[in-house]
Assembly symmetry: C2
Homo-oligomer: 180 residues x 2
């Protein structure tokens, strides 16, 4: 493996409420210099939680996703607020989105989305032994909750509106570690 390139400078390029972009000047070990752009300042990242409603049933959410301009089927998810741990964010999102907290919250994985362009990470969890604990969130409309049989995850993966790479990955991780 080559020695890591050295960061010569970083320059803020733009900033909005949610997004910030900076230019990074890199000097590679072989003398090559490049300027790359990357997203920064996206806070602590995000959480995604697979809620297990009963041993044979998961809970999904159907929510409008403005990036793709349609309703997407997926698991509970959201950004980690400042000062929150990933576990705290996972419980808050569970309470806001499905009105329940969990007696068991197990970490599945922490994943990157586009390591070449961002340090944004998503912490994946599975939530079991749910109990009612609603918390009012900031959703613009009530979320549609969808129960899904654990035995039909292969069908879920074929749903045309179930396309988030993290949601798809979560179904495999859940199956693999169902005995957690």
């Amino acid at each position: 493996m080559s020695p890591a390139p050295q960061i010569q400078s970083t320059t803020p390029l733009m900033q909005t409420r949610l997004f910030a972009v900076e230019a990074v000047e890199l000097l590679f070990a072989n003398g090559e210099a490049r300027t790359f752009e990357r997203l920064v300042g996206q806070g602590e990242g995000a959480v995604m939680v697979v809620p297990v409603l009963s041993p044979d049933r998961l809970l999904l959410i159907r929510e409008y996703a403005v990036g793709v301009e349609r309703y997407e089927l997926g698991f509970v998810k959201g950004r980690i607020d400042r000062g929150e741990s990933p576990e705290q964010a996972a419980r808050r999102e569970l309470r806001e989105e499905i009105g329940m907290d969990a007696r068991r919250l197990d970490k599945l994985e922490t994943v990157a989305l586009t390591p070449a362009y961002s340090n944004y990470r998503t912490h994946l969890f599975v939530a079991r032994e749910l109990f009612p604990a609603p918390l009012v969130g900031d959703e613009p409309e009530p979320l549609e909750l969808v129960q899904w049989p654990v035995s039909a995850l292969a069908d879920l993966r074929k749903e045309p509106n179930f396309t988030d790479a993290r949601s798809l990955l979560a179904t495999y991780l859940f199956e693999e570690r169902a005995g957690l």
Copy 2:
């Protein structure tokens, strides 16, 4: 399912070489109005390709990822250039990154990364029956190629620098459809 919210307006907020952000004013079916931000103009999206070197061996790349500031292990990947189909981009990236083209290129899946914030998509492929066909890419340094036994994909998933959600997902899709 609610009727989809109506887009009242979109306003460009900023633009750099790689990234553009816009504000979207939405009116939900229940009368709630919200302004969201999303990334736009990221071209045709990206491709990721799992190169199968022999029936029991995959080829990985170790490449510096400035978003996370370290070398990441992953599959062949890159942006789709203007005018290219996903298949053409997959073959070009194979030739640039591992110096080979493929007699068989099968689509695994098309996935979203953050449907709430972007319409960026990645087309996942598996490439078989490789043959030498090098093409000079724009990599700042030679990429390190790493052979990995198909029988050890579970170990690959535990590698601390193998964290891209798409790469992790690709290992499960590859295993599931090994008989494609």
